[in-house]
Amino acid sequence: MHKTILLITLLSPLLAWAQGEKVTLSGYMKDASNGEDLIGATALVSNLDGVGTTTNIYGFYSLTLPAGEHQVAFQYLGYQVKLINLDLKEDLQLDVELVPNSQVLEEVVVTAEKADQNVTETRGSVTKINVREIEAVPVLFGERDVLKVVQLNPGIKSAGEGSSGFYVRGGGLDQNLILLDEAPVYNPSHLLGFFSVFNSDALKDVTVYKGGMAAEYGGRTSSVMDIRMRDGNSKEFSGQGGIGLISSRLTLEGPIVKDKGSFMVSGRRTYADLFLGLSSDESTSNTNLYFYDLNLKANYRLGESDRLFLSGYFGRDNFGFGDDFGFDWGNATATLRWNHLFSNKLFSNTSLIYSNYDYEFGFGQGDDAIGLESVIEDWNFKQDFTYFPNDRNTVKFGANLILHTLEPGNLNAGANSGFTAEDAEEKYSHEAAIYVQNEQQLNERLSLNYGLRYSFFDYRGEGTAYEFDDLGNLLSETRYESGESIQTYGGLEPRLSATYLLNSSSSMKLGYNRNYQYLHLLSNATSSTPTDVWVPSSNNVEPQIADQVSLGYFRNFKDNMYETSVEVYYKDMQNVIDYRNGANLFFNEEIEGDLVYGDGRAYGAEFYLKKTQGRLTGWVSYTLSRTLRQFDEINNGEEFPARQDRIHDFAIVAMYDLSPKVKVSANFVFNTGDAVTFPSGRYTVDGVVAPYYTERNGYRMPNYHRLDLGVTWLRKKTEKWESSWNFSLYNAYGRENAFSIDFQPSEDDPTVTEAVQLSLFKWVPSATYNFKF
């Protein structure tokens, strides 16, 4: 008896301690059909209120719970929920594979409860693109394009017909950081903007942060478009592709070692020039016009705690006339990453990233030839940690260093060309940042994501620094040696997002962010051309700074069948760049003297309604907004609307399952016109008629609207082979939308001046045969 009492007494503290002990459940969540990591999937503890976590970019989750019995629901939108009962006595590594809904053969599909993610997740101002969803959205030339689909969402506006560029919440074209597996893509446009460089067959996840971006992102002031490539099927060989009127594509993927490593190769090429070659017009038949994209990805698990990834992208556009003229450009990116689990709570990723964008054009041949090449090249070393201390906090911290090299113009001139071959000076700079952030669940209703980023920029030699007077005349030049610092900048970038759950189906979200941008794009035309010039911040050019605050209300209806949101934002921009009259952006060493600096502000309200279930799905998006600029040297110093000040921007996308084999889709877009500068008077000088301007951007282009229709017809679906036809009609009612407006003397009566509008596209049909094996 005494011994028993003694034993119990001795053991009771142990028992008490065991009761309060915490264990960590961690692992990877993957797609059961192909082994792809699931990004942002959730692990929710059903028996503990509000306890759960989401997987990171690599599909890793970590949950620290009290020891004992739990039921954990592993879920992800589009997949079957997996409920697992666990009796946790010690740390457990549990990898979970979820079955996609499309693979489920039974009638009853248990949909993931985390369909309310748009309400509960701690970040507003986010647009997530489900890559599979975009397959049905009809786009130009039948090419599925994530950049085009992103522009159908509120707050994100297309830069116009013929451009892949976009504006986010009133920001400029260069204010969007486009990352492909962490590598920045400097020019995401093919063919002068008709297509983007992203082959959606190779992509897994696309997320656009319009505001409130976490401290781990930086470098541009308006948005981050984080694009992740698929890893490749780690279970079996598979492929998919399509053959279309203008282009074709093929993706092959498979395991390197089953369930341990996989690869993916994805390619696409257009062949518009094959049709041109048939033309009887010699100038047309001698034209070559093509582009290609190649995406490569490989990953391998080196044991329990380590994983290696290699991603690459290579693309090129080629445009030329016979031997007389050639113009080509392209991006190349490569990312080498090493994931390491220091413990089941500390996840680390180390990346080495390379990115290169160059364009080249040439005239003539041999001794008469003139060629000009421009290059921008980045080397980026990045270290990120994710620490899961407990079930309420996820801490991220890290640092990165980018070495930028800009070669604004290398001139190759033949001996007889009369041009002196002299390369424009290269510009070197270092951009660095460190950050720390925490995502914290304060209580059942309130969650926060707060962080601080410090960014630093060093513009350095070897190079020449120019000094100009107020009118842009050159005052002096100073030479700097290699490695010498010419100018440094730095700044703190606080970030905050907060979500307050009003009830299980609605929430309010608040966001604040400050962003610095050190590289700037000087663009000379209405649509971004490949010859746009990137310049670094310097002794003349200051970094752009943006402060944005946003507030939103998110509400889901009918058991998450309808998602709705309203978000308002205000953005303040400093040090935005514009040009003096007659600025020469082309091969100009003293280009900084042609730049003027000012401020901008943008504000607006975004409305969004999405239907996620049923035979009819789709969304409606409406943005009401203004974006204004102010420069002392322009418009007499008075505020004027930026070109992209499209006050009303509306899009509706609808997809309807006509039958199990046929899906029809339509999208309709409407926006009021860009701000444009037209003359108010005219005069004659030097024998030519010159326009007299009284203000900048005082007029509007006509309204733009367009309807696109598409049909997807599933021909065959077996376990081994799936094929479908996709037909689409761009601009179904053939509206001639104004691309530009010119004023010309009338053809009938040259003394009368008239306004003539140029449109690019009328009806553009296309057909594509898609297959999957």
Binding site: L192, F327, G418, T420, N581, N584, F678, S680, Y699, L760
Partner: protein, 271 residues
């Protein structure tokens, strides 16, 4: 050099898409008339002309309005002034000798306001040779002869040039013929080769080409002017910074006062 890579977008649109044009109604504001004073001083003994006019509303059919009520004087750097009298509608003219390297000031008094602008007369540059080369058609250019100017560029200073040409005696003055360039791409070259941009000439024509060495003020003005002038006499809808050209008048008026030297050559293109 303003090498606008031949508005590639329009090139492409010709090739792939509809490139449809149609006349539309655009409502443009009216504007108060604004003064335009332009003058060019040529090195050596030449007639010096000053043209004074005003702007009219863009769509208006009115003839340009001239000002015949101005007092115009040309001053050299010693303070000597020459009166420039009115000879025609808005046109003031006098025969003047202008010396290279000297700075002249033009003074116009109008509506009780005095406007001043200055220009330094450049040194002469010899147009040594004209070359022609037959090119196949590409893009918007028909097949024909491309013509090049050969001259020596002084490496000691920043130089600016303008080229003007006439086909069989008739001067070409369309928007894209306003061609001015700085010496960026051929600085210091003893045998600089400057093409006549965006023009293909028919075989057998006689081309008269003038190479002007112009001052910086002229370049600033004409360069910003050529940026806003599109083809067919209208404004350039693709300009990045549409605004009134940077003139060198000290007041808020349009136009400029420039100085130049000129050399001319002729070439007869083969049949």
């Amino acid at each position: 050099m303003k090498l606008q890579p031949i508005n590639l977008l329009l090139l492409l649109s010709v090739v792939l898409v509809c490139a449809c044009e149609k006349v539309i109604d655009v409502d443009l504001n009216e504007s108060d008339p604004q003064l335009v004073i332009e003058a060019r001083l040529q090195q050596g003994q030449h007639d010096f002309e000053v043209l004074i006019s005003q702007t009219v509303n863009y769509f208006s059919n009115e003839a340009p309005a001239f000002r015949n009520d101005a007092q115009v004087r040309l001053l050299d750097n010693t303070g000597t002034s020459i009166d420039i009298p009115l000879v025609n509608d808005g046109l003031y003219r006098a025969n003047v000798e202008a010396v290279s390297g000297q700075t002249y000031t033009l003074e116009v008094t109008l509506d009780d306001t005095r406007y001043l602008a200055s220009a330094e007369v450049p040194v002469p540059v010899e147009l040594r040779e004209l070359e022609s080369e037959f090119r196949e058609a590409f893009g918007p250019l028909d097949e024909g002869y491309q013509v090049f100017l050969r001259f020596t560029d002084d490496p000691q200073r920043k130089n600016y040039y303008r080229q003007i040409h006439a086909i069989d005696g008739i001067y070409e003055l369309a928007g894209e013929d306003l061609q001015v360039t700085d010496d960026n791409l051929f600085d210091g070259s003893e045998n600089a080769r400057l093409p006549i941009f965006q023009r293909a000439f028919d075989p057998g024509v006689t081309l008269t080409v003038i190479l002007q060495h112009i001052d910086e003020g002229s370049f600033e003005y004409l360069n910003s002017l050529s940026d806003i002038i599109g083809e067919d006499g209208g404004p350039n809808s693709g300009s990045a910074a549409p605004g009134n050209p940077t003139g060198n008048w000290d007041g808020e008026i349009l136009g400029y006062f420039g100085a130049f030297t000129a050399d001319t050559l002729q070439i007869e293109l083969p049949e």
